[in-house]
Symmetry: C2
Subunit: 203 residues, 2 copies
DNA sequence: ACTTAAACTGAACACTGTTTAGTAATTTTG
DNA sequence: CAAAATTACTAAACAGTGTTCAGTTTAAGT
């Protein structure tokens, strides 16, 4: 291994170290409540060092973005086992919901947060996200092949489905279901999802 | 007018002054980019004074919440003119979209932001929001009376519709439509909305 | 005129992200 | 090997943040 390669590896190693620490802190404190100084302290370096490996705070958390999608995609394994496309689509929805409430912080950086998104459009970190979206379109396409969704465009319908799923989940996460009594909220979401999937089945 | 009443009026006057200034700054700088010091400077008082009238920064922006809903509700006037309930429902959706992109900052505090929401559950400021939600349920109910949405629960369906609308709008606002080429994004949303309303009409 | 109460503020506290000038350690070169 | 050059790192500062509190100014009541 040449000198240049080793240097690059060390550099990546340090980035990894920072990221790991940031990730850890992020999970039990959220984005806004961790500082560069926190991260620096955790890895026992000075705050200034972090700026040698990352442009700014956003770049650090944008990197977590990819991590979040990897975990999300790991939820899809179970979905892929299901043979019937329509059942698979519904399972995908169920897993989406499960992921949302199991990892609200991840959901936050993936789909809600404004901050770390002002990044390179053509970044590699988006590939993991694109993969998830491709998966949805693939399942919808297969449903079509099975006789569902006649005269409905795959891409558009996929976006419609995603919109519904995201809307429901983010309204819940961001506490916008106050109009409904606390005790009813979950049941409303469940019934709504059931209603939505029943509609899809009938298409 | 007694002394107590005048004092109360002065107090409200000062709150109004702070709110107005905050509102103004909020509209052209966003939430995170204004400070208590900014607001104080604008009304030519010391930052400490603001804390005599508001508990904290969140309380100030929570107050804007009500304002945002008032503006939203003003969009509903045009909707109410439409006789046919189904057409009215669709118009409501169109107006929702129009509002979202005309006032992204308002949409933000109303439906997305986390920060100013940690407030009193039973606050009066929620009434304006509840009104908007009632309006939706009312229109859906009327659709039912007109023979639509057979065997679908009004409350659940209303939530389903809202979820879709919010999902689509917030994905757009929070820049989560990157998977689609920039030039196509708006058309995808339009087509999706058309698709969604067509589905509703057929129910 | 004196007291009481209300309104307001300067200055501080404990933070924040970020930059820069300078130090310490390590390599490369003569 | 020693000198020079490069790299890795950091202390300290900058310019801000939300928030608190002791203390002052202003106004009202007696």
């Amino acid at each position: 291994m040449g000198v240049k390669e080793r240097k690059e590896r060390d550099r990546q190693g340090m980035r990894e170290k920072i990221l790991q620490s940031a990730h850890h802190l992020f999970l039990d404190k959220g984005f806004e409540d961790i500082s560069i100084r926190n991260i620096a302290e955790a890895i026992e370096y000075s705050p200034a060092t972090i700026y040698l490996y990352f442009k700014d705070k956003n770049e650090i958390f944008f990197a977590l973005h990819g991590e979040a999608f990897k975990i999300f995609n790991s939820y899809l394994g179970e979905v892929m086992l299901i043979k019937d496309p329509m059942d698979r689509l519904i399972k995908l929805g169920e897993k989406y919901i499960e992921f949302t409430f199991a990892h609200p912080r991840y959901y936050n950086i993936m789909f809600i947060m404004e901050a770390p998104m002002n990044c390179d459009e053509n970044s590699e970190d988006w590939q993991e996200g694109a993969k998830a979206h491709c998966f949805l379109e693939g399942v919808v396409e297969e449903c079509k092949k099975n006789g569902h969704f006649k005269n409905l465009n795959t891409k558009i319908l996929s976006f419609t489905i995603w919109s519904y799923m995201h809307g429901m989940c983010s309204l819940a996460l961001r506490n916008r279901m106050r109009i409904y009594p606390e005790a009813e909220r979950e049941s409303i979401r469940k019934k709504s999802f059931k209603q939505f999937t029943n509609l899809l089945k009938a298409l």
